[in-house]
């Protein structure tokens, strides 16, 4: 019945392209949920993704220890199709960036082999300090090569780095410097800097391809931990255990039970909610004296804490993030909300529940969402807020504005006649070129006008009462709290997080062939009562997560 409904919907939306290849071969299982057969996904192309700054740093910390510093500036990330994770698969390394990688590699290598750290990381003792020790070098470079490349080094790769280390030892008269040169070469290798996914034939479906076990291990660990595979996961890949459903489940259980799963969840939602825009975000302190870097950082952290607590700690319904009254307060956020905090909020966080009659209701009424507008320091922009809801939370792209748009009316917050954003935007929409997009973005943004650009509640703008009413999906609402209830019930809300989770995991938009499977995952999410943990588990244990439909790079 559900499948029929799904297919009907696909048919309506023209998403049946590729669905012809979908066969009912696998069963979803879950406690208390009706078992349903899983559509087979044809997969999509494998990706080559550049490690982002956090992933690079977490890799170094996980492999060599947290004491190793990671110097230098990283090239900026690029957001593509709504996600940095997709942008990561479309970026290159510029010549300047390569210099940074090289300098960084030399410094990390030197620190790893410094007197302070060598004893812990170089577990063999060379026969002589000034001569090359084949066995010791092979052990060291093989071990860390595997961790850095997230797969064992190929024979030629190891031979090459050994040869480099040997020659460097001879020229420098130092074994440590020799293997340091080898380690540097591993750190500047594209196989470390990029996550290069490799495909192999899928024996379960002759004629099709899947990720090799090492690539699958990386997909798993970067999605769940935002970090590279640890040795146990690599061992599971090496032994073939990752290919066995029981072995895969065991590793997924382990990864999701780790505190690092919180890191992975935070990284995903930071990407989905475009929190990278917090870097350098500022507001006009003459207008909003409460805004400062501490408040900015706390706002971001508050939303992430709220998400993690609701989805992971409480195992709550994802949709309730749009209406929840529960959050956490720091000292600065207490000031923003005008409520006292207790000792826990000083340098930490205090759980807090907004009163039932409080206008704050859900993530979109928390300051992180409300202040995250880098282009307007002195006023709120209902258009930007509406666009953010559409694109980031409903996965509904909004076209770019025309090049010759005149913003004069919208920007004049001192307009003696049009004293509210609603009046200014209404006037702005008199231009037909503008009206199309603004009709999509503005109504929801205007419903959040009761919150100023830093997220502080207000009832008036320029002395005029704010009208926060509107209409969404044919339903009228009087204020933001009512809008949040409507958003909570919108199918687009949940399908978007499903889509984003998938995109974040595979590093690209779904192919048309994958969409039926994704729709089924969305239905499955509903059956799982919109539990994020369940969504993640279903995704990463599915054959669709490792299905590959296009040629790939060879490892060597």
């Amino acid at each position: 019945m559900k499948t029929a409904k799904t297919l009907k919907r696909f048919s309506k939306s023209g998403l049946l392209v590729g669905a012809a290849s979908a066969l009912l071969t696998v069963s979803f299982t879950g406690s208390g949920v009706e078992a349903a057969s899983e559509l087979v996904s044809p997969g999509g192309p494998p990706t080559v993704r550049r490690l982002n700054e956090e992933q690079y740093k977490r890799s170094i910390a996980q492999i060599f220890g947290a004491k190793i510093t990671v110097p230098g500036r990283f090239e900026p990330p690029v957001r593509e199709d709504g996600m940095l994770a997709i942008g990561d698969s479309k970026v290159i390394v510029t010549p300047t960036g390569l210099e940074q990688y090289a300098d960084r590699a030399r410094e990390i290598s030197a620190e790893v082999l410094s007197d302070a750290n060598r004893a812990n990381l170089l577990t063999c003792t060379p026969a002589a300090a000034d001569r090359f020790d084949e066995a010791c070098a092979s052990q060291f470079l093989g071990k860390f090569g595997k961790l850095l490349f997230r797969r064992p080094l190929g024979e030629r790769e190891l031979a090459s780095v050994m040869d480099l280390s040997r020659r460097a030892t001879q020229s420098s008269g130092s074994f440590n410097k020799g293997i340091g040169a080898g380690l540097t070469s591993l750190l500047v290798s594209p196989y470390f800097i990029f996550r290069v996914e490799v495909a192999e034939p899928d024996p379960a479906r002759p004629g099709t391809q899947r990720l090799d076990a090492w690539s699958l291990a990386s997909r798993l660990s970067f999605l769940l931990w935002n970090a590279p595979p640890d040795e146990e996961l690599l061992d599971a890949a090496a032994s073939g255990a990752l290919r066995d459903p029981a072995g895969l489940n065991k590793q997924v259980d382990r990864l999701m039970a780790s505190p690092k799963f919180v890191d992975g969840t935070r990284a995903f939602f930071s990407d989905m909610l475009a929190f990278d825009q917090f870097n350098g975000l500022s507001k006009d302190s003459a207008i909003y004296p409460i805004f400062n870097p501490q408040l900015r950082n706390d706002a971001q952290e508050q939303s992430l804490l709220t998400i993690v607590d609701h989805l992971l700690v409480q195992d709550g319904d994802y949709r309730d993030l749009f209406t929840t009254k529960k959050t956490f307060l720091s000292r600065s956020l207490g000031a923003l909300f005008g409520v006292p905090v207790d000792y826990r909020a000083f340098g930490g966080w205090m759980p807090y529940t907004f009163p039932a009659n409080d206008p704050h209701s859900g993530l979109l009424t928390l300051p992180a969402f409300l202040m995250l507008d880098p282009s307007h320091e002195g006023r709120s922009s209902p258009t930007i807020r509406g666009k953010s809801i559409r694109e980031n939370l409903l996965c509904q792209p909004v076209p770019l504005p025309p090049a010759n748009v005149n913003f004069q009316i919208v920007q004049d917050t001192n307009d003696p006649v049009r004293k509210t954003a609603r009046l200014r935007l209404t006037a702005h929409q008199e231009s037909p070129a503008c009206a199309g997009c603004h009709r999509i973005t503005d109504p929801m943004g205007l419903s959040l006008e009761n919150f100023d650009p830093v997220g502080k509640y207000r009832t008036h703008e320029n002395g005029v009462p704010i009208d926060a009413s509107g209409k969404f999906n044919g339903k009228e609402y009087a204020n933001s709290a009512e809008l949040m209830k409507i958003l909570r019930e919108s199918p687009a809300t949940t399908s978007c997080v499903v889509q984003r989770t998938f995109e974040y995991g595979v590093g690209r938009k779904p192919t048309s062939g994958e969409e039926p499977w994704l729709e089924q995952l969305n239905m499955r999410f509903a059956e799982q009562k919109f539990r994020y943990r369940a969504l993640i588990r279903t995704l990463v244990t599915s054959p669709a997560f490792q299905a590959v439909s296009a040629p790939t790079l060879a490892a060597n």
Partner: protein, 568 residues
Amino acid sequence: MTSASIAGKPACRERLRTAGKCLFAIGLSTFSISAQASYIGDGFVSIPEVKGHWQAGEHKGWIRVEANDWPGRLRKIRSGRDGEMNYNGPLGARPGGPGKLIVTLGVNNPDLQSMRELCNSRRALPELTFAESFERSRPSLDLGPRPAIVPEYWLYKLKAAVVADCPYADGAAEQAFVITFKDIDWLNWDVAKANGGPLVVTPKDLPDVAPRDSGTSKSGVRHYLITWIGLATDSSLTQCPKMNTKPGEDEFFKFRTQEQIAEIRARNGEKGVTAGSPDSDNRGPGGLSAVNLPGIVPDPGLLAPDSKVALGLDLDGADGAGKALKGIRPHTNFTAPDGRTSIDNQMYNVMGCVPGFRGKQGYRNQTSNARRADGNYTTLVEVSGVDNDRNDNNVEIALIYSLDKPIRDTSGKTFVPGYTFRPTKAPQYALYNHRVKGRIVNGVILSDRMPKLAINLGQDPLLELEQARMRFEPLGDGSVKGYIGGYEDWKKLSVNRASGYSEGLFGYSMPGLWYSLRRNADGMFNPQTGEYEGISTVYEIDTVPAFMTAVPPQQKTATRAQSGKDAK
């Protein structure tokens, strides 16, 4: 040398800047602060065979002196790490050699003639005893109660003494007597403890004033963060046709001979006499310090505001008409800018035209409040038990310290309201928490009269007021504008302003200030001396609304224990 952390350095710099009395030497790991040894206020001299006329207390039969100075003596000041409290040792010269003590007597002192005779005869005095007040000898940042082991008066025996000089300037209020001696004994204090010691403050010493928690209090509670507190000395732009300035050559050279003047001019060249230099300070008759002993020169005058309007409070409950109240000197009351009459703020007459102390523009007020803004001594006003914001005859008003930083906007100009603060148990602050009954009348919060109120102003000396009152007026933005007033010991205030460096920095003549304080004193009448020892003074307070959180029960024990430990 007192061992101290680097945290003590700013305080030392501040003393150097404001008092001109602080010299410090920095070693590799320790430093000490040294200050000149003098104070303005009661001391007593006992000379065998000379009967003094003081009639009160333990010094009955002694000669009362108005001020004293141990020229050349630099007392080392204990400057502990942040959070430590200390007391300091005696001002007096250390035993083991000759020295000099200068005391002053008022021209109406009944023992003046005896002292003049001793001076004129240069009679050898085998010994004499000098009693010096511990409280008045304390450095300005020395806080807390007098330790039980410390005497109320340090006692010194000056051996083989002579009243070697007694210069007097016609028209001066006091005459100085220079007593030289061959040696000195400390009679009630061990020289080995000359630098004092740690001040032990136990939890029972602390007032039991904890904030009513903003989040959990059942009765109405309001908290306000103090963002500015300073002398209420600026009521209008036109109050001072002319401002006071630092002393000039007319004062510097008044008691110098032409030869001395020529020598000073030759030595200093075009830059002239520098404020705070010996040429500036020692401008009294006989080359004595007119800064440390300001009564020894005639009044050079201090410009007062030409205004009947002043900020403040009615402290004495009288409108100035009719018979003066007991203990209050008849004086002219002011009218507040908002029209309230009977305002008692005689300090306005003194400081109203001194640039460094004039309201928000006063540099001294600004520097002090800049440190407040940085969170060095965060203070909050609490109004609790509020059932009716307009009229409530039973509320409580508290002043409570916190060590949490006030938050300002990124420009540093605006304090952000709505932040929560925790009380501190650090004794140097918690000792000065207060709670008093009060009432709300037409929205204005008024405290009952407090016999004594001491406020730790951090960079400024402890503000000690008698018969104090507080008043807070609500403003439209949720904050209150406040005034705290009472009677302040004007001689203690004089000690804290007795600095040549401060004269130059803040724009006044120390003798002029001293005479003005003495002239305007209107309260704290001392029947033993016949003097009014207090001057009505008012501080204005700006606030932003804030919150306070109480110490959680599980932390109370630990915090209190820590407090006791810190004090050991």
